[in-house]
Symmetry: C2
Subunit: 359 residues, 2 copies
């Protein structure tokens, strides 16, 4: 998407075979790119969250495996690279999907052909993600158009960053927003700051500002009040893993917003490319929830006089806990917006859109 | 309550007629007291939140009016001091209650007697608040004892600071917790950090740590997940204003936690001294919600290398909105814990406990 007048993706191949990414831990206070030269770089980029967002984690893992094939294309090299990348983050299922897709194709090839094939396959996975998000955008756009036709405007509330920075391009929850804005609908976005890591205030606000979409940052606590007051027309979020019954694991706090949407009659849609669906999971209860460093709760990154600081924002000495995701049950979801259309949030709803994949 | 081995209140008369307070904007990174010498000092202490919390706002306004009577005990002085103090914060009804109580009593006296009477009356209002909170504690303790008897432990979740720092002493939501801890129950508190001003992470964590109560700070987003996982036995919050039907206005985000409690079957109790009840309001829909400075959303106060900083935590240039309270409807509240016992959250429930005040 746009940064000023330039079009960017979040991940791209360089001419020398290395892979470029935007270092998202530096945003919004600095824009820096990083070059990944091997599987260790890619694994670090995922685990330290230079890249994040389920679809982008998948694409980075694919590119990481391709870098691994340049280092060691043997069966053992393939195995070790996949294991190393798989261990970086536990919740997003796109990671597993991308690695399994790559391994299945690469293991059938002789080692000498793997590096080139892997690079091509990683690029294909990245292109496919961008295309899927664009398609999510067109389906979601219909929903936003219907609201705009009725109310003359659309106030969207979104949580975390399910924007283009979380994907290869377009974003999941933001794809309908960008398309709506570009065709002239009066769209405004309430951006949950999304503690603890502030991906809303840091990343979503940054990308909406760069694209020129009107938006307002709020604390996570404010979403319910705005819905009670009729200030929210629709909630759009992403998901890190969707169970076969339509339960969705997404950034911690999504469940609270879904409850408020239900209580106030606001539609709550989840936007997802199909690799985010874990067909092996009967319900969200089985989705592993990552417990991250409590330091993300006790400290924040911000811009103070003199530069970027890491500041403690809790009572020194008080312990903290940091569950990174929660599960929103399908009963609270209005629709699952996928690249094939909008599914009812149920086993049957998903199976109807994806008869080729549902068990 | 305890800071180390010393017992403190949040507000106290000094020998020279001035009034001492703890500067809560400095906590938890520094402990400083401030002396209020006139009505202007008191108004500034409330509006700039050196003191906050509905009961403490009321007590500070009472002491402020007493300081005003030392400056100008005329009818006009009384009128002007009351108007000035009334304008400091819009949501907490204790402010109005304290000022009206003081004015009714003082206006009946000749000006020459007002300064002394006002100081005595302010001290009485402060003592009464401490006693009311202690009584709330004994009623709430019964609820915590029942949970402990069944489960062997009590995990309380609380939002914002309804602790002794929000009152003259004991706190509202914390009074049952301190009593339970002091009698040896295995009580642990999940402390919502409570963005934007972080009164949970700054104040509640600080006072629980100083009293030795086990606690864990979480981001506001995490409360629902913990309830889904059975990690919360009860939610205890305060309220800034309670309508006659039991709807409660409290710190922004309270509504979201109440929704999660209802969805997961966790009891949700609101602790309040009766001056927090606005008998003139039929429902919470009429409670004015303070819109505070968006700078509280875009910037946080924290401790970095070299000292306390104010750091921007959102994309520079992105606008922000800052509604400070929300209304939790009575239907989501399990019980209203008052100094007279636990009321059902309804007009009839409150009227049964307070037949002398209900209209």
């Amino acid at each position: 998407m746009r940064i000023g007048e330039t079009h960017w993706r979040t991940i791209w191949p360089e001419a020398d075979g290395s892979v470029g990414i935007i270092d998202q831990t530096k945003l919004p206070f600095a824009f820096e790119t990083v070059t990944l030269r091997g599987v260790a770089d890619a694994a670090r980029a995922i685990s330290e969250m230079l890249v994040r967002g389920a679809p982008l984690i998948g694409a980075t893992a694919a590119h990481g495996l391709a870098l691994g094939m340049r280092e060691d294309p043997s069966d053992r090299g393939l195995e070790e690279a996949a294991i190393r990348l798989m261990a970086t983050r536990p919740t997003a299922v796109n990671l597993r999907w991308a690695l399994e897709t790559m391994r299945a194709r690469l293991s059938a090839l002789p080692p000498a052909e793997r590096a080139e094939a892997a690079a091509a396959l990683a690029a294909e996975i990245a292109d496919e993600d961008a295309a899927q998000n664009r398609a999510i955008g067109t389906h979601g756009l219909e929903v936003l158009r219907a609201i705009a036709a009725e109310r003359g405007r659309v106030h969207v509330l979104t949580h975390c960053n399910a924007g283009w920075l979380a994907t290869v391009d377009w974003g999941t929850a933001t794809a309908p927003i960008y398309l709506a804005h570009d065709e002239g609908l009066d769209v405004h976005v309430w951006v949950d700051e999304t503690r603890p890591r502030n991906q809303g205030g840091h990343l979503t606000a940054w990308e909406l500002a760069n694209h020129g979409v009107p938006h307002t940052v709020i604390v996570d606590n404010a979403a319910g009040h705005l819905m009670q007051r009729g200030e929210v027309d629709i909630v759009l979020t992403g998901t890190d893993r969707t169970a076969a019954n339509g339960d969705v694991a997404n950034k911690i706090g999504t469940y609270l917003k879904a409850l408020a949407a239900r209580d106030t009659g606001v539609p709550f849609h989840v936007c997802l490319p199909s690799p985010t669906i874990d067909w092996s999971l009967a319900s969200g209860a089985d989705i592993p929830i990552e417990a991250r460093d409590p330091g993300e709760v006790t400290h924040v990154r911000g811009l103070a006089e003199g530069g970027v600081v890491r500041a403690q924002v809790t009572n020194p000495g008080s312990p903290a806990a940091n569950p990174a995701f929660d599960v929103t049950p399908a009963r609270l979801v209005t629709g699952l917006i996928t690249e094939r259309g909008i599914a009812e949030p149920s086993r049957q709803g998903l199976a109807t859109l994806f008869p080729d994949r549902a068990a």
